[in-house]
């Protein structure tokens, strides 16, 4: 029983099989991300009412919050697939982890920049040591550490394992970092009040926010597949399936 499941997993996680399958999946993810994203933007920019406190500036929320969610989500995906790669020696999982890092870092960057652009009209300064922005900044550093370690080690296999272990250590630390930063922030909070969290949100604002979050997830799914395909090609560059594929191109 377990043996057959194992064989099944190995078959489906072979880079060659993945390469063929993913080609069919990517258009679906890409198109649905586009459709949902455009609809979410339409609802967010045209339909959602003006916020009574923040005016129109709150409309940044529709990209800021999904980007921040994504940066955390992708880190989780990265750590989980790195764990799978380390424990069960599945190469595809290592590739997914390596492919996720730049995407996650770009979302963390986006969350930071949009957060500070939102902060300027709200707080009067582009950067305020708000708990969430600070946590996001630390998350970006964690991504940089992962990518730096990944590229510093020449041997591909141990680069994957080493940076994967770092991602797992990071995941254990993220809640601790998050809560200590939050706690630190409540101590030092002077005039600035965290305005990002709304106790209750108007349903017309919530729906576009959730739609944008779904669109970002689908976008990530499409991009991570494309990037993992690249990783598969590069890492298997000396294997027969890649050679045959390239000759046909």
């Amino acid at each position: 029983m377990f043996k057959s499941i194992w064989r099944w997993i190995q078959r489906f996680s072979s880079p060659k099989y993945f390469y063929e399958m993913s080609a069919k999946l990517i258009p679906w993810f890409a198109v649905s991300a586009l459709v949902i994203g455009v609809y979410g933007l339409y609802l967010g920019l045209f339909v959602a009412p003006t916020d009574y406190q923040q005016g129109e500036s709150y409309r940044i929320i529709f990209i800021h919050v999904p980007a921040a969610w994504m940066s955390l989500f992708i880190y989780m995906v990265m750590a989980i697939s790195a764990g799978i790669g380390i424990i069960w020696q599945i190469r595809l999982a290592d590739m997914v982890a390596a492919a996720s890092a730049p995407i996650g870092a770009s979302f963390a960057f986006l969350a930071l920049v949009t957060g500070s652009l939102w902060g300027k009209p709200m707080w009067g300064a582009y950067w305020v040591w708000d708990a969430r922005l600070t946590s996001e900044l630390i998350l970006l550093f964690l991504y940089f550490g992962y990518m730096a370690l990944q590229s510093a080690i020449d041997d591909q296999r141990s680069a994957d394992k080493a940076s994967g272990l770092l991602a797992i250590v990071g995941v254990v630390n993220i809640p601790i970092i998050h809560y200590s930063v939050e706690w630190w922030n409540t101590l030092h909070q002077g005039a600035t009040v965290a305005k990002f969290d709304k106790p209750s949100m108007h349903i017309d604002m919530l729906i576009p926010l959730l739609l944008m979050a779904v669109a970002f997830k689908l976008f990530y799914a499409a991009i991570v597949l494309i990037r993992t395909r690249n990783e598969a090609l590069y890492r298997d560059r000396n294997r027969r399936w890649v050679r045959e594929l390239i000759e046909k191109l």
């Binding site: 550093f141 770092l166 200590s180």
Partner: protein
């Protein structure tokens, strides 16, 4: 198992005492960095007190960071790390021994040096004692987390900056609570919560970090 632990611990301590001058370097660095701040800002008592907890804690953090290299570097270079991994004793215990030795050689001296720096920074007496407690609980965490970082980067040429990039973000909770404990103590408030938090993180690090370090060493050795 316990025997292996003590054996490795004393071996590391003996080796370190053979070149004593190297032992003092992180300490001197610690004092030096703290000295820079009154010179850079102002030496008035209020200004010093306001920045003291942060300055001392950041300097301690950097001093530990600089000394992390010697945790595994030499053993890696001369091949004794491979020997350790071949030994029949569980690697976790050996890692724990090395981290303990590292703490005795850097963390503990920093703790002992802290009262002097507290005086430099015009800290009141009760804050100095809290500074000692917080460093006592915090520096082992720094050694433990640092061990993961070094074991991942030990084989990388010029891994120094890489090591700080990896390790410093993980040090942030310790920094927040350690510095805050001293800050709060200056205002005469209870620091129980902060010290308990540091203790909890220490317990967590003590149970998980050696495992992660052992795995990391195996990864490093396999290349």
């Amino acid at each position: 198992m316990l025997k292996a632990y003590y054996h490795l611990l004393f071996r590391d301590l003996r080796l370190a005492f053979r070149n004593r001058h190297e032992l003092a370097n992180p300490l001197i660095f610690f004092v030096l960095v703290v000295t820079l701040f009154p010179l850079a800002v102002t030496p008035t008592t209020e200004a010093l007190r306001a920045m003291a907890p942060g300055v001392i804690w950041v300097s301690a953090l950097l001093a530990v960071l600089l000394s992390l290299d010697r945790l595994f570097k030499q053993d890696y270079d001369d091949g004794s790390l491979d020997q350790l991994m071949l030994s029949p004793n569980p690697l976790v215990i050996l890692v724990l021994a090395k981290v303990t030795a590292h703490w005795f050689l850097t963390g503990l001296p920093l703790v002992i040096m802290a009262p002097l720096l507290g005086m430099f920074m015009a800290l009141p007496d009760e804050a100095i004692s809290v500074l000692i407690y917080s460093l006592l609980l915090g520096t082992p965490i720094l050694s433990l987390i640092g061990a993961i970082g070094v074991s991942l980067t030990v084989s990388v040429n010029r891994g120094g900056v890489l090591l700080s990039l990896i390790v410093l973000p993980l040090y942030i909770p310790v920094l927040i609570f350690g510095a805050n404990a001293v800050d709060v103590a200056m205002n005469g408030l209870s620091v129980r919560g902060q010290l308990l938090f540091l203790g909890a993180v220490l317990a967590l690090a003590l149970s998980l970090a050696p495992l992660a370090t052992a795995v990391a060493l195996r990864i490093t050795a396999s290349r």
